[in-house]
């Protein structure tokens, strides 16, 4: 059974369709990359996956359970699916450590003392051991983005969604964040990411989906999409990006 499955998902804003008839399966431990032009609906699709946006039609299954059922309480589902945004969205009035600890404390009713070793290990792992007490505005973009990733990981999600998490970063900082993704993949995390980093998608993805005007025009292993794209839209997009 697929970890996450989208079946004929449709989503629009004020009658304007943004995603149409999207079907997609994400197997456990896979990294799926969504690529496509700006405005093609990548962010919207990710936000639908963790129920930040209700979908209009179709269904989303998490481990076989229909999580798009409108009657369902979204909070327990969101805890199982972490998301990291392009603009970090750290809470500016809290230190890095407090940012990370807020949700485990409130949602899992953990106390600071028992959380601290775990949190510390996460900060260590991502090279931020000495930045735990810093506030977001005292951190570089790359550091903030890694704290945002730690914040999502601290809830021990089963799936992680990443929305263009490197596009607000200087080129030198992109590498350190992509390293984090490689690490997560090697540990078997199931991930879906919207990205403009074609090199990274080719190297690390198990599956690449090309979105065009809210539709998945083509999907397949990275070699197929990047080396032998079939749809003319995919070819046009890749040509424009590689240039």
């Amino acid at each position: 059974m697929a970890r996450l499955e989208l079946r004929n998902v449709a989503k629009g804003f004020g009658g304007v369709p943004v995603c149409r008839d999207i079907s997609l399966t994400v197997e456990s431990g896979d990294m799926v990359c969504l690529i496509g032009a700006s405005g093609s609906g990548k962010s919207t699709l990710l936000r639908c996956m963790n129920l930040l946006e209700p979908i209009d039609d179709g269904a989303i299954y998490l481990d076989g359970q229909d999580i798009s059922e409108p009657e369902l309480d979204p909070q327990p589902i969101r805890r199982r699916i972490g998301i990291v945004f392009q603009s970090f969205n750290l809470f500016p009035h809290m230190s890095a450590a407090e940012n990370v600890m807020l949700a485990p404390r409130r949602v899992h009713h953990r106390d600071r003392a028992s959380l601290l070793p775990e949190i510390q290990a996460l900060f260590d792992r991502f090279g931020l051991a000495d930045r735990m007490q810093h506030y977001p505005d005292q951190l570089s973009g790359g550091q903030q983005q890694r704290v945002a990733i730690i914040r999502a990981l601290a809830m021990q999600p089963e799936i992680m969604l990443f929305d263009e998490i490197t596009s607000a970063l200087d080129p030198q900082l992109v590498g350190e964040v992509l390293d984090v993704l490689r690490q997560l993949k090697s540990q078997g995390m199931t991930m879906v990411l919207a990205t403009h980093e074609m090199g990274f998608a080719r190297e690390a993805a198990d599956k690449v989906c090309f979105l065009h005007q809210g539709v998945i025009v083509e999907e397949g292993p990275p070699e197929q999409i990047f080396d032998a794209p079939e749809a003319p839209e995919t070819r046009a997009f890749l040509q424009a990006v590689v240039k």
Binding site: R78, F85, N89
Partner: protein, 278 residues
């Protein structure tokens, strides 16, 4: 290196700015002095000046009434001191009520909306009269018939309506992405409000609330109409006693001694915040 070393280590630009600053200072002080001189020399030439000076700026009366008026002002400070924190809390309750989403709590939302509309729509002095005279008029036993309690309540109710709107503008100014980030972590709606939105919103409206505090400080004097002998009423007593208006000027001076520094402080806070955000 071409520009430095000239004129004691200052660059050409810095020297120019220093000259410009000096010139501006000289012009500003000359023109201000001219205006002050004109007032000092011309106003006493007005036909009624002697009479006005005697009844408003009488030095003897000033010195005689100042200590008592200052003591009466302590009562203003006291009323202010217990009203301000209660306003901060009650306004927050109202602001949160106006923002509740749950349909079961809809009545709270209606209540909060009507509340802010009513109390912002009625002059403070009317509320002070209605509550300050009306409630003790019910024949409550001591100490519940005290005008201090009901007068303060009138101020608290009115000011909370304004402060609640300020809080609400702060809540709305927090970007939707903060809400999305908090929800995506699985936090409940109440926790998102309590831990993510409110702390940021309240900090953001501190300068606006400082202005409300200054206004409150002055409006405490309205309670004089229902009984408490605070500075304004004490000044009135002296006015009748001495047939002289100088006590009012004394009261104004005392108020200014508090409100002018507070206003400057609020402006500085606001300016700092604007700079931080740009």
């Amino acid at each position: 290196m071409a520009n430095s070393g000239v004129g004691g280590g200052l660059t050409r630009r810095q020297l120019f700015e220093r000259r410009a600053r000096r010139r501006a200072l000289i012009i500003a002080s000359t023109s201000s002095l001219a205006v002050v001189l004109a007032i000092v020399l011309l106003v006493p030439l007005a036909p009624g000046w002697e009479a006005v000076k005697n009844s408003f700026f009488n030095g003897e009366v000033f010195l005689r009434t100042f200590p008592t008026l200052l003591r009466a002002f302590l009562l203003d400070m006291l009323i202010f001191a217990w009203c301000a924190p209660l306003i901060a809390i009650w306004a927050l309750v109202i602001a949160i009520c106006r923002d509740v989403q749950s349909p079961a709590l809809y009545p709270l939302r209606i209540f909060a909306t009507i509340y802010t509309d009513v109390f912002r729509g009625v002059p403070v002095i009317l509320v002070v009269y209605l509550i300050g005279f009306g409630v003790p008029g019910l024949g409550l036993p001591r100490p519940w018939n005290s005008p201090y309690i009901w007068g303060s309540l009138a101020l608290i109710l009115t000011y909370s309506a304004y402060v609640a709107e300020i809080y609400r503008s702060g809540i709305e100014s927090i970007h939707a992405s903060q809400r999305a980030a908090a929800h995506s972590l699985g936090l409940s709606g109440a926790d998102v409000m309590r831990f993510v939105i409110l702390p940021q919103a309240v900090r953001r409206v501190v300068p606006a609330n400082m202005n409300m505090l200054i206004a409150l400080q002055k409006d405490v004097a309205l309670l004089s109409f229902i009984g408490p002998v605070e500075i304004f009423r004490q000044a009135g007593v002296y006015k009748s006693l001495l047939a002289n208006f100088t006590p009012y000027v004394v009261a104004a001076v005392i108020f200014l001694a508090i409100t002018v520094p507070a206003t400057r402080f609020a402006d500085a806070l606001l300016a700092r915040q604007n700079r931080a955000r740009s």
